[in-house]
């Protein structure tokens, strides 16, 4: 039996030879491990090399700048949750991450891991997308930056090459009157996988009119659905009940949700609408509070 190799590079530079080796050796990046370890035990993933990225400083730092927020790919959810400023700036992004698993899982789960696991029901991605997150991808030839929505290409698949790793996320700091929110539906109150998850990022002006919007839905398609039509519908309105009802209606028509042990197709369509309406309201209320 082949034994698995384990490497925990201390810097991006140290990671380069490992990433090069990963071109020919089946490898996995180990962040929090909360998905990977289960997949390995079930025999779904059989890497021959694990690259533990948690000792690389760039991947574990959380930097709250005036213009942008830099979130290392391997920052545990619990650390995000404990950062009051991050809560204030990107409440939806925090919500997405803190809904993943239990307190115990929170201590390990990371935004980079959640995104690169590429589950259609991943809780992290929708809010990161609506908050215009960018991913810095590191490889032997340097870095490249892509929007969050370009990382997942299909369930379990990402656009990262075998010799690349997700280094960090960069979010623009929200403007006055702008905020985000994430809601998901699960049958219990914890410990479940999203049946549907919806994120919204809303900007309002002093009159309460929506001036910009972004809505994204998880678990209704193989990858996150960015609802540009809904966003277009919201802009210019005061997010009144009729508008939200119309948005909900549109959300219920989106995607191609499956029927499985977690919910039926019809149910997912319905819930997508309900959550869309509710999450826009929450994001709008938060945005209003940020007008000073």
């Amino acid at each position: 039996m082949e034994s698995v190799q384990y490497h925990a590079p201390q810097s991006l530079e140290d990671a380069v030879p490992l990433l090069k080796e990963a071109r020919t050796t089946p490898s996995r990046i180990l962040a929090g491990g909360t998905d990977l370890l289960i997949q390995m035990r079930a025999g779904v993933k059989t890497p021959e090399m694990l690259i533990d990225i948690k000792k690389i400083p760039e991947l574990t730092q959380l930097e709250m700048g005036a213009d942008q927020i830099r979130l290392g790919a391997a920052v545990p959810s619990a650390v995000m949750d404990e950062n009051a400023e991050l809560h204030q700036q990107l409440p939806g992004v925090v919500e997405g991450m803190e809904l993943i698993g239990s307190t115990q899982v929170q201590g390990r789960a990371t935004p980079g891991g959640n995104l690169c696991n590429a589950s259609p029901a991943g809780d992290g991605a929708p809010a990161m997308i609506v908050s215009s997150g960018q991913c810095v991808i590191f490889g032997p030839n340097g870095t490249r930056t892509i929007p969050v929505e370009e990382v997942c290409t299909a369930p379990g698949r990402t656009s990262l090459a075998d010799d690349e790793l997700l280094q960090e996320f960069i979010f623009p700091a929200p403007k006055p009157g702008q905020s985000d929110a994430y809601l998901r539906f699960i049958p219990r109150n914890e410990m479940d996988i999203a049946v549907v998850g919806v994120a919204a990022n809303i900007t309002v002006d002093a009159s309460g009119t929506c001036t910009a919007a972004k809505v994204a839905l998880g678990a209704i398609a193989p990858t996150v659905v960015i609802a540009t039509d809904i966003a277009a519908l919201l802009v210019g309105t005061k997010l009144d009940d009729d508008t939200l009802a119309a948005a909900a209606e549109m959300a219920s028509g989106l995607g191609s949700p499956i029927s499985d042990k977690r919910g039926t197709t019809e149910f997912r369509h319905r819930i997508a609408g309900v959550l869309t309406r509710r999450v826009i309201k929450i994001a709008a209320a938060r945005a209003g509070e940020r007008l000073q």
């Binding site: 390995m40 035990r41 201590g107 109150n189 410990m191």
Partner: protein, 159 residues
């Protein structure tokens, strides 16, 4: 099959062990180090029976690799009591009859300790939310939550 040498600290003791890369910390604790107080209920991070503290952070030891413990501080149920003197959380679990079969108890106590270190005065709702990753099938959680709140009050009083 080559094994990796790991140096770590468990309940204050310097510990060295050899483990395979794909071996979980839970398996190392239970099988290699014979610290069987940490329990396995699912091995998928869904029941919390294997809860330990890793560098002060509550985790499921089934979702941590043994090799990842290198240089870390680990606390398990075996380190909660001070010798034969029970920790107030342990004492309150007993007084409140917060266990029936007892398989989930080590995980609950380790998790409760983490909770109270972070939040010495949790509401019932906060306690329930924090402990939602610890499954108990015997008690319906009522007496566990009472024990947690009772222990919190006692520890605040003692502090």
């Amino acid at each position: 099959m080559s094994k990796t040498h790991v140096t770590t600290t468990i309940n204050g003791d310097a510990v060295e062990y050899l483990c395979e890369v794909d071996q979980s910390l839970l398996d190392v604790l239970r099988d290699t180090l014979e610290l069987t107080g940490t329990k396995e209920g699912c091995a998928t991070g869904d029941c919390g029976a294997c809860s330990v503290s890793l560098d002060g952070r509550l985790v499921c030891s089934c979702l941590v690799l043994g090799v990842e413990a290198e240089g870390k501080q680990i606390e398990t149920i075996e380190g909660v009591a001070n010798g034969t003197e029970l920790h107030p959380i342990q004492q309150k679990f007993l007084e409140n009859a917060a266990l029936q079969c007892g398989i989930c108890t080590p995980g609950f106590i380790v998790a409760t300790k983490a909770l109270l270190e972070k939040n010495p005065d949790p509401t019932e709702e906060e306690a329930r939310y924090y402990l939602a990753g610890n499954l108990c099938r015997c008690t319906g959680y009522d007496k566990i939550i009472r024990a947690v709140l009772d222990a919190a009050a006692e520890m605040r009083g003692a502090a």
